[in-house]
Chain length 599, copies 2
């Protein structure tokens, strides 16, 4: 088996950190207790381990390819997607009324991690479809919802997000795709979109493109962008498929990773105009797109955790088997000989780093998902609002920090393999190549950091960011009441990291308007520090739960490992916080000091 | 032009840090003053920019391939290698008596950087040949030297290093290749070697394999390994080629990067035995191999700098051209519009990080090369010995730190490009893929770190490592005598990093024998801290030289950029030192705390 789903760790987080039992008391989630969650995860694990994971390396060797306007996906993908859809997995988090299962995101995100660990390229298709469903749920007309959502939920059709154009990447103000209103209330769409994930493929009957475009005469910039629904095949009123629409895939990209996932260039309107219908109101497209994007950003953060987990499993397995050199402490020197490399301290350090980063980000994402569920369904409006603010604060951290950490983890994953890691057939290199897209798409790390600096910190003068430090401090108080060496060590590092974070929040809040160059020069380091702190904080909480379980005699092996991992995180990862603080607070000027001509 | 050689920066280092004028006073280097160095660098730059660099992407698209035992290199490589050889570049650092030019390593390493920036895959062939020449110079018989070295120096033949076997990677004690003594004084070699760079190719008439093998009846472990010269074609006494030897390439690897460089599996003796001659004495093979390896390790460190430079140039160029979004400080908002992304603080931060890491490691390698030259040619034995110790201390830092930093730089190089970076045709991804081998071959980062902990620090109780801190302290005293803001800031960070380093040296020295798990758990972080410190120290020296030049009105643009880069390094890179110190000194136990079964 190439992948074993970490069901136990996911369940631990759900119980100990995300408090699924509390969510279970919310009427919308009355059906979803821990036992149900466990059953769902186990079912999902089976599909991922047995069906989807084995296709990962196949997809790298046999990428999707384009021929005469059609895209042919990797052998086996179509059949796997059919199984995925028939199992109801696309509808996991979507409403019952459209055929979904209505599960909380807290459980859905755990399943999302498994699917992405199994196969990021495969998982992108459902991920984008989820985004399209969310956008339609929020802003679609009744007709759009009724016709499109059930088909997206049951996997007959899939969805895409069409934002990027050659001149409009991070800067959506530059979007030029044109929409011409027609007498029948539809629009004709003309333009070129690039980097469209699963923009064309053979896994579903129809593809529902959500397209950003500018209605003729609309204002310049982001305030003149509207969102359109442009299906690959027109859909009749009864839901059957009609004529081919004028939206064509003219090529797909040759990428460093996620090669099985087709990244399309789509041409709209080269043969008279692609027919689209407006979603919501004109000129509010960006707002709706952000709904998709925020769901997708959280999802991409989970992809980072997923790739990291897979990379860790592969490296740990290699380290158990590969015999090379005698341990420095002579621990296997009874026979005087070489030992599995897992015995070497630096291999342990690499694996612990991989594991700690992965578990830390997983814990953070679980808490974020729980906040989302509370925000959307809690009966108390004040609690819901607070949870929403917390979730929105966490999204750039989940996206930015988890994906950046996945680069570190997959690098170490290759490194543990030594020379074998660089040979493609080993498989470790694929994770390294795949991961690199995660810090780029759905908003680069810098774009996440801008969001954190501007909307999430600068806007309220750092008040909410400081309140998060207050929550961390409460955890510190709990740690202080314990007398274990692990709790003491974690307390020391958590406290130092929190203080470093508070210095940075003050600096960012003070400068975000008066000296934006200084604030934004530190934006990504701030994101890395905040993500590091929140992940470390969640592992500190995990440590206490694990210590209590251990004392009660529950699952000693798992709980001991959790304690060791949390302590390692604090001592080796949280300890990076001070350096980031210094660079941000005392090093802002040197970022922009060199003249532009000198680069 | 895809690459522009940084001749000015290389010359600055040679003059200001490596003190070429002082080397020039050593009789062996009497011909090599700054003017000569400049002329050599300019000539080398031309070849690299015009001939070798354009083949880099070609090699990625059209890797070497194997057919029926032969390897066909990328179109254009053979012709480029001919030009390289005819220009005398292979003999740059080798003795006159064998047809070389006898240049100091200080100049040679600068050329080496350019060749590797131009094309790492191409440059590997000369790099391995240099290693073979060094080993023969040290341990070869007169006959071996006279027959083989001139042909290696003039590029008619090339060299390889045959260490690795499937069961023997980092652990050479496991080498099983067998050598059977023959009546005529030769040996018959039997065995399989893997990961042999340029083990087979079509760029030269003959290939000189240096092969580690065990003479029948030799002791177990590393003390029973001998080194053999096994040519692809037998060589007659008059130097002409004879029969094909029984050393055959049975396949080449499918790698993540450096695809143009063939990585061979070589089979020795499948048809009766490959004929080899012993180099030096039996059972001293590892010692000789370390001569090659130390040269190659320095060379691989330079490859890290080289790939980082190329990645930086590409990213800076993209950032100048790509227009996207309005700057946060409104600096180009006269027209209210979008600006080149170089205007965005985070893009500046990424580029400054790339530049500072590259220039810092380049400065370190220049000083190391100078120490090598002093060690090998200075008339005063005490000075030479001191220089040798310094050089040997620096080799693991040049290899380990420069290559690890190249991963960070090439990652940022992709990131600056956004989505375009992930598309192979853009070219940024190739550097990311190529760089990953550098932390692995010629000894992984952990192997370098073991060398640093064991031989370079533990053996003398940390005395030499502490003396390096003393040199840093002297630079601090010079900084303290200045009143510029840049000098003050660099002083603060350099001093803090030195103190962190000293804590770590004390910890490593105290534990390397009594508690090896603790010492080796911190080995790679110690290497990263030491490399960071030495690179930052050299940039601090550079800063002072640049300030003086600036005050004298010399080359204001270059000197201002150097000052800005040195300050950035101190504030953003040296500031990582404290976190590493904490992890090493206070976090050793948590590296090995988790039970082996829990991984």
């Amino acid at each position: 088996m190439t992948y074993r789903a970490p069901v136990k760790d996911l369940m631990f987080n759900m119980q100990a950190l995300a408090d699924l039992p509390a969510l279970n008391k919310i009427p919308a989630f009355a059906d979803f207790d821990l036992d149900t969650a466990q059953a769902v995860l186990e079912e999902c694990a089976k599909l991922c381990e047995d069906v989807i994971a084995p296709l990962n390396w196949v997809g790298d060797k046999n990428p999707s390819f384009w021929k005469d306007g059609q895209v042919f996906t990797t052998p086996g993908f179509k059949e796997a997607f059919k199984q995925f859809a028939e199992g109801g997995w696309q509808g996991l988090q979507h409403p019952d009324e459209f055929g979904g299962q209505g599960l909380p995101k807290t459980i859905g995100a755990a399943c999302g991690e498994m699917i992405n660990s199994a196969n990021v390229s495969f998982a992108l298709c459902p991920l984008l479809t989820d985004g399209a469903i969310e956008a339609l749920l929020t802003a679609g007309s009744e007709e759009q919802k009724n016709i499109f959502i059930p088909k997206l939920v049951d996997g007959s059709w899939t969805g895409t997000m069409n934002l990027t154009e050659p001149q409009a990447g991070s800067d959506l103000a530059q979007v030029r795709t044109r929409a011409e209103p027609q007498a029948d209330g539809t629009y004709k769409i003309f333009g070129t979109k690039i980097f469209i994930t699963y923009g064309e493929h053979d896994m579903a009957e129809n593809i529902v493109h959500l397209v950003l475009a500018r209605v003729v005469g609309a204002p310049e910039g982001v305030k003149g962008i509207s969102l359109f629904l442009v299906p690959k095949f027109m859909v009749n009123a009864d839901g059957t498929l009609g004529a081919r629409n004028d939206a064509h895939c003219v090529s797909i990209e040759h990428k460093m990773g996620i090669k099985a996932s087709p990244t399309a260039v789509l041409q709209f309107g080269d043969h008279g105009g692609a027919v689209g219908t407006l979603i919501g109101e004109e000129n509010r497209g960006l707002e709706y797109m952000f709904i998709m994007m925020n769901a997708a950003r959280f999802g991409v953060g989970v992809q980072g955790i997923a790739v990291a987990e897979r990379s860790y499993q592969k490296a740990a397995s290699f380290a158990r088997d590969r015999v090379q050199s005698r341990p420095v402490d002579g621990s296997t020197a009874a026979g005087g000989g070489a030992a599995p490399i897992l015995h070497h301290p630096d291999v342990r350090r690499m694996l612990m780093t991989m594991r700690a980063l992965t578990e830390g980000c997983r814990a953070m994402s679980s808490v974020a998902a729980s906040a989302y569920d509370t925000a959307h369904h809690h009966a108390d409006a004040a609690i819901a609002k607070q949870a929403q603010t917390f979730y929105e604060f966490l999204v750039p951290l989940v996206k930015g920090y988890s994906t950046e950490m996945s680069l570190e983890v997959t690098d170490l994953g290759v490194q543990v393999h030594g020379g074998m890691g660089f040979i493609e057939e080993t498989g470790a290199a694929q994770h390294y190549r795949d991961a690199k897209i995660l810090t780029i798409y759905e908003g680069t790390t810098a774009i996440q950091a801008n969001d954190l600096v501007g909307r999430k910190t600068g806007r309220d003068g750092g008040a909410f960011a400081r309140s998060v430090a207050g929550l961390v401090e409460a955890t510190e108080a709990q740690l202080a009441a314990r007398d274990s060496a692990a709790a003491r060590s974690v307390l020391k590092r958590l406290s130092a990291a929190r203080l470093a974070y508070l210095d940075v929040v003050d600096f960012i809040a003070a400068n975000s308007r008066s000296n934006p160059n200084a604030a934004y020069a530190g934006s990504v380091p701030y994101l890395m520090l905040a993500g590091n702190l929140v992940a470390g904080w969640q592992l500190a909480r995990s440590l206490m739960v694990a210590e209590d379980h251990l004392a009660a005699g529950n699952d000693a092996a798992f709980m001991s490992a959790k304690i060791a991992t949390a302590r390692f995180y604090a001592e080796h990862i949280l300890s990076r916080a001070g350096g980031l603080r210094d660079a941000i607070v005392e090093g802002a000027d040197s970022v922009t000091a060199m003249s532009l001509e000198a680069f």
